[in-house]
Amino acid sequence: MAETLDQKQNFLKGIIKENPVFVMLLGMCPTLGVTSSAFNGLGMGVATLFVLLMSNIVVSLIKSQVPSKVRIPAFIVIIASFVTVVEMVLEAYIPFLYEQLGIFIPLIVVNCLILGRAEAFASKNNLTSSVVDALGMGMGFVIALTALGATREILGNGSIFEFRFVSEDANTFILFILPPGAFIALAYLAIAFNRLTRKLA
């Protein structure tokens, strides 16, 4: 029983207490760079979740074989391999999303969230915990990116997931689609998130 409770805690910490975007400020480049619409945010989130999950699995399996001096380069190669897989799959099957995310797909490699989890968690824990940790952190990232993307799309374009709820010629805050809107929207979302978690606690 204690074991299952532990895993639930382990899963939830990634979403709330140690949310990678709102609390830990990890992986800020894709967070700000691709979230001009909810769909892009979701796509980037899922791509990162996949890489994070696979790298956590592999790192946790080989952790006893890797000498500690070369562990960081080894982790980077593992992560880069899965990023290449994601890059090729997206290019082949979802070319629209591949175009939209552009340079941020290869940049998943340097997302500090993934290397951070490999180093801080997967290289010290067993397979099950590492999978749960990756799922929790990954979901936290997906939720944050989708929320930010949705906020910016609603305010800037009057739509959500491409579904428009205002007329074509309505005035929207174009600012939120443009680069400055990313910083400003994230600032207010971070405040809201902090208030929410303080209330829950």
Binding site: L25, M28, C29, P30, L32, G33, I72, P73, I76, V77, A80, S81, V83, T84, E87, M88, I103, P106, L107, V109, V110, N111, C112, L115, L175, L178, P179, P180, G181, A182, F183, I184, L186, A187, Y188, A190, I191, N194, R195
Partner: protein, 191 residues
């Protein structure tokens, strides 16, 4: 003229931090003092220029002729990680004062997405050649330095300002970055 366009484009119009969102981690992380942000900018200039030169040559003369284009991401990140280590070791030996100034920032640079980002972006320059790619890297790091130093100077003032409780820390920094990015939006259409 072409080079002037690259320079203005990389520093003002498509500033890598404020409009391309590359290198946000050091931008938010080491920008609380002007002196540290100058050190970080120097280290980025150094590594970015060398990394772009090496990756550009590698891509042009090894990966493309051998049809290994899809290994780009893996090769580039390995080259950058190795380069950062090498630069650190060489600086320590050759120029201790420079090492003193830049040393602490060097390990952070491996995970600075601006370095990998610029190396990849440099491949896509219009009828590019090595000289253009290197010049693009230098201009980009100048843009990084400008954004970082301006942001750090604003943050030094913020320490004395009276900020509402909920805005302290991350939110106010993001808002300042947003306003700065808004200012840079004014350069749009210049090139």
């Amino acid at each position: 003229m072409e080079y002037l366009i690259i320079l203005i484009g990389a520093v003002f119009v498509n500033n890598i931090v404020l409009s391309q969102f590359l290198g946000i981690c050091p931008f938010l992380g080491v920008s609380n003092k002007v002196s540290t942000s100058v050190g970080m900018s120097g280290a980025v200039l150094f590594v970015m220029t060398i990394a772009t030169t090496v990756t550009y040559l590698l891509h042009q003369y090894v990966l493309v002729p051998m049809g290994l284009d899809y290994l780009r991401t893996i090769t580039f990140i390995l080259v950058i990680a190795a380069l950062v280590q090498m630069v650190e070791i060489m600086l320590k030996k050759v120029s201790p004062p420079l090492y003193q100034a830049l040393g602490v920032f060097l390990p952070l640079i491996t995970t600075n997405c601006a370095v990998l980002g610029v190396a990849i972006l440099a491949l896509g320059l219009e009828d590019g050649n090595l000289l253009k790619a290197v010049f693009f890297a230098i201009s980009s790091s100048a843009g990084f330095a400008l954004a970082l130093i301006v942001f750090a100077s604003i943050r030094e003032f913020l320490e004395l300002a009276d900020i509402p409780e909920g805005m302290k820390g991350v939110p106010i920094n993001l808002l300042v970055a947003g306003l700065l990015s808004l200012a840079f939006l004014g350069f749009a259409g210049l090139v």
